[in-house]
Homo-oligomer: 333 residues x 3
Amino acid sequence: MDFIADFFIRFLVQFQSPTLGFLIGGMLVAALGSKLKIPNAIYQFIVFMLLMKIGLEGGIEIREANLLEMALPAFLSILIGLLTVRIGITVFSILPGVDKEDGIATAGLFGAVSASTLAVAIVVLEEESIPFEAWAPALYPFMDIPALILAIVVANIHLKKQEKGEDTDVNVWNIIKESLRGSALSALLLGLALGLLTNSDSVLHSFYDPLFRGFLSILMLIMGMEAYDRIKELRSVAHWYAVYAALAPLMHGLIAFGLGYIAHLLVGFSAGGVVILAVIASSNSDISGPPTLRAGIPSANPSAYIGASTSVGTPIAIAVGIPLFIALAQIVF
Amino acid sequence: MDFIADFFIRFLVQFQSPTLGFLIGGMLVAALGSKLKIPNAIYQFIVFMLLMKIGLEGGIEIREANLLEMALPAFLSILIGLLTVRIGITVFSILPGVDKEDGIATAGLFGAVSASTLAVAIVVLEEESIPFEAWAPALYPFMDIPALILAIVVANIHLKKQEKGEDTDVNVWNIIKESLRGSALSALLLGLALGLLTNSDSVLHSFYDPLFRGFLSILMLIMGMEAYDRIKELRSVAHWYAVYAALAPLMHGLIAFGLGYIAHLLVGFSAGGVVILAVIASSNSDISGPPTLRAGIPSANPSAYIGASTSVGTPIAIAVGIPLFIALAQIVF
Amino acid sequence: MDFIADFFIRFLVQFQSPTLGFLIGGMLVAALGSKLKIPNAIYQFIVFMLLMKIGLEGGIEIREANLLEMALPAFLSILIGLLTVRIGITVFSILPGVDKEDGIATAGLFGAVSASTLAVAIVVLEEESIPFEAWAPALYPFMDIPALILAIVVANIHLKKQEKGEDTDVNVWNIIKESLRGSALSALLLGLALGLLTNSDSVLHSFYDPLFRGFLSILMLIMGMEAYDRIKELRSVAHWYAVYAALAPLMHGLIAFGLGYIAHLLVGFSAGGVVILAVIASSNSDISGPPTLRAGIPSANPSAYIGASTSVGTPIAIAVGIPLFIALAQIVF
């Protein structure tokens, strides 16, 4: 009972957190038909700033980290990326009224990772003074890329079977390159490299770090507006997408929490690190995933996967997932 | 004599203030034909940042404020909004060569409120360590919305009389909604709500507050450029607009100062609060007012009201109004 | 030998500096085909912020500076601007396969000044605690404008000779006005004026200064991307441009260093000031120069001069020039 009470308190407290407040505020503002808009150039810049901060911090930490310690969580991230997509594809293949490719693309997006959800988790953990390995956010690409690849490969194998004889080769290496070239992963990896190879502590602590929470609040506002705008799209597709989008983040997070706990027992992965792992598993890609999937599975309907992810999956991952995994960590550790 | 000396010293000192310096610098830069431009996306973002700061601070303060204390100033704000528009309409109806609807729209704009002028007043009061109720800037919508509504309603009644039989219903509720949905008021009210309902102190003090003055300096630069560019428009309309634009801000501010002083005597409204009230009365809407009026009184000529407001009204309100009301407060209180 | 060792250590250390790291990171990101982009509005805003900081600081310092002290370095800046362009024109007139006007335009660009290279030098000098006169960055326009004017005048005289009888008057005053109106010089001069005439210390130290290094890191990233993108253009023109672009920055810097040292002996110009003078001589215009030259010498091929400047000249000036001049200063002073 303690756990449920703890979760509910955290859940309610989080509604008082400015991060979630800005998300809900964005939804309200959009719902009330406000003309308030954050320009797209600012949105792109904010995402760059957040990922650069996460990358630089991760890179600086990896410099001093025991890389062996990171090996198991990195391997688990790959495993979780593949597993969650595999489960999603199976689930959608059973559900009625769901187009095969739409289901695969949605499963891919929910297996992939969201930088903004990760940023919220970092802020919440810092606010609650729960320590985590600074390289933990750098697990992001280990989960993101395999998830997107698996979805695109499965979709293309399916298409090939359908249109026998047609020659649509699936080039895995091309999908990896495409993922790494996406603006989100590029910024994160650039930050990692700069953190690892240059003396970037001062620019991190004087610039990227102090602006992190503020920019995150604006990003949440934009995502809230976007979430509301996408609800219409979700209405036009089978309601199974909404059901999946509400449950998958929690299910994926719990699987990752379990595997992360094993890493805790084996190599001492910290409680905060396990929460980070659970949150990135719980998150679904909102920046780089959609264009990658659109290019990789052009026959899938973006309204299905983007609507489900932006207007249901992300709010659930942030508002329910994060307090849930932290409450769980308080019990288990 | 002390008052005049005090005002002149303040007036001259303010020309040394960076805020006014940036405004005049912007005018000069535009006058000299410079290609310097602040991108529009940055302008929108800066306005958002300033209003969010004003809103958050107001919301946090309202949480602890005695709402009864705020009631009289809020009521006075509504009164001033209506009164100044009413006076403006009467003045323009007497002046020769002024189109009826243009006069009504101009009166509406000068009754409505400018977020940037308000921001300058906040900075000047803080610099001079004159305390004010932190909810005072939240009086903004109480004056802004009634002013815009009254102007649009009067204009439409006038149009109806002219074109008897035609059915142009004036829906007051629609004008209110339109005003609240404008980007400036939306940002301010969102900030108020977030300040009131969430624990936003930390994001306010680590992000929105430290960037306030710097962003205001850039906004002043943009407004200076805009003021110069609009002078041409002002030349193409009757010169009475320029005369009104130069006198109305000071007249409106003095009316508000007098009413604010009554609130001081009755409920202890602070000297700084009275200055804020006078400044928002003195200011004229530069962000959300013009589009609202353009939609509400489509037959009015924007060159008349925007030119008068941007290139005369706002510089007068900032450069003359603010030092005048502060000097007055030093005498009276 | 000490000098060479010192330079190499500085050179290698600088590769660990985040500034150069971001420049190289930008090249890599572009070379790897990443979709990461910093929006153009952000780029323009960052350039404005950097120049406003340099200008404000210079203006505040000039207020208290002995203007006579500045006279000789300012005169030398004009001299260097004219000399480097004159040398460049002569060099290109000898080289085979180089179009006359293209050579003149390239010489003009390499005589003109880059705000971003200057900004890097300021950061490096501050990091190494090498003091310099705060008005030294304000030497920028004294070198920039004469260089652009000379190039445009020579190009037009050449064109006139070719097309005898045609009346293309070269109006020097128009070129000066055009240069001053460019966005970079406008921002710098506006900052100087505001620093000189207003109490801008507080907005400088609370806003423009703390954001300087961070924004510079992003500008370096953008310039790295741009440098890579321009390499293709460079390939399409004679390879002499690349040779010139690699050598001219160092040669120009060394000439300026020598002249600056004379100013040191005569009027006590500081070691840091001499380095600043050498760096601005070494730099080549990347923001305001290209459009001015495009307007002034429309027959020249932008691929030649922009490619050489952006993809070779600027990286050389930053990565080789700055450590070289600082190492030299350590020996000489």
